[in-house]
Amino acid sequence: MALEATQVTRPRGPSRAYLVGDYAAGAATALAAALPIHALVDTGWDIVLAMLVGVGIGTLAHLAVLAVAGPLVGFFQVMAPGGVIGMYGGMLFGMRDSMQAASWPQTVAVAVLFGLVVVACLDLYDRALRRSQEAG
C-alpha cells in the first residue's frame, strides 16, 4: 500500500549537547570493544576465531555502553550506531589484531575514528531521511 507523504513534525535535529553525547557514546563503544579485543587477540590467531571473539566482545561492549549512556543521551541514538560499532567494529578489530601487531596508541586512535565515522554516517543518513521527508 502506498503511504501518503507526511507532514508530521519531527525534531529539527538534536541539540549540540546531545550531538556531542552521540559521538562520545560512539567513541566509547568502539574503545570498549577494541581495548579488550587487543588485549586478548594476538597475531597468529585463526582469523575466523578472532572475528567471532571480536563480535562477542564488541556486542558486550555495546550493551555496557548502552546501559550507561542510553538514559543520558537517548536509547535509540546510542543503540543504532552502537550496535554497528560493537558488532561489526568488534569483528574488524579482531581481524586486525590477528593479522598485525598494532600498538596500543594505534588501537585507541583507530577505535575512536571508527566510532566517530559510524555515528557520522548514521547522522548523515538521518538528516537525508529528514530532508527527503520535508521535500516529499
Binding site: M1, T6, V8, T9, A80, G83
Partner: protein
C-alpha cells in the same frame, strides 16, 4: 501471560522514568506534534508512568490504560496535572474493557513494542474506535538498514526480559489489524516513527 507481563512492568516502573528521560527530551516535540491531532474521547494505550501526558492537547477526555498497577500509581501525579479529564484504568491491551465504537481517538507511545500480541492489541483498538476515528502511534520499529536491523534482532531477546522488543514490524501490524495508514513520519532514522491510521 498477562500476569508475567504485569510483573515485568511493575518491576520496570522503578527505573522507567530515569531510562526514558533523554528520549523524552529528544522526542517531546515530535510527540506533541502528533498528539495535536487527538480529539474528543481518547484512549491512551499503556500510559506507563504518565510521562507523555504533558504532550497532550488540553481539554480532552482521556482514558489511559496500563497493565501495571504500579505504573498507574506513578501516573496519578501527571494525570492530575493534565488540564482536562484524564482517568486511569488498569487493563490488558489485548482485552480492552470498553464498549465497541466508544472512542473518538486512540494514541500509543512506545506501546506496541511491549504488547505480547500486537496485532490482537491493535484489533482491540479498532473495535473500540468509532469509524474514521484516528489512531496516533509514536513507536519504534525494526530498521530497514540491514546492519542496524541485525543488531536489533540480536538485542531483542535480552531487551524483552526487562522491557520492549526492539524489532517489531509495527507498520505492518497496524495494516494487518485492519487499519489504513494515512501518514508515516521517520523521527529518528527509520526506527522511531510517528504514524496516523484509521480503521479501513
Amino acid at each position: 501471560m498477562a500476569s508475567a507481563v504485569r510483573q515485568k512492568w511493575d518491576r520496570a516502573s522503578g527505573f522507567y522514568d530515569r531510562m526514558v528521560r533523554a528520549d523524552d527530551a529528544r522526542f517531546g516535540d515530535a510527540k506533541a506534534s502528533l498528539f495535536r491531532r487527538m480529539r474528543g474521547r481518547c484512549l491512551m494505550m499503556a500510559a506507563g508512568t504518565g510521562h507523555d501526558f504533558l504532550h497532550f492537547p488540553p481539554g480532552l477526555r482521556v482514558v489511559a490504560i496500563d497493565i501495571s498497577g504500579v505504573m498507574l500509581a506513578r501516573a496519578r501525579g501527571p494525570a492530575s496535572a493534565y488540564p482536562g479529564a484524564l482517568g486511569l484504568v488498569q487493563a490488558d491491551a489485548q482485552a480492552l474493557p470498553f464498549a465497541d465504537r466508544s472512542f473518538d481517538c486512540a494514541v500509543t507511545s512506545c506501546t506496541l513494542c511491549s504488547v505480547p500480541d500486537p496485532v490482537q492489541g491493535l484489533r482491540e483498538i479498532r473495535r473500540v474506535l468509532r469509524p474514521e476515528a484516528p489512531l496516533l502511534l509514536f513507536e519504534h520499529v525494526r530498521s530497514r538498514l540491514a546492519p542496524v536491523a541485525l543488531t536489533q534482532d540480536l538485542l531483542t531477546p535480552l531487551s524483552r526480559r526487562f522491557g520492549p522488543d526492539m524489532n517489531r514490524d509495527t507498520v505492518g501490524n497496524v495494516q494487518r489489524a485492519g487499519f489504513r495508514v494515512l501518514r508515516e513520519a521517520n523521527i529518528y532514522l527509520d526506527i522511531v516513527k510517528a504514524l496516523e491510521a484509521v480503521p479501513a
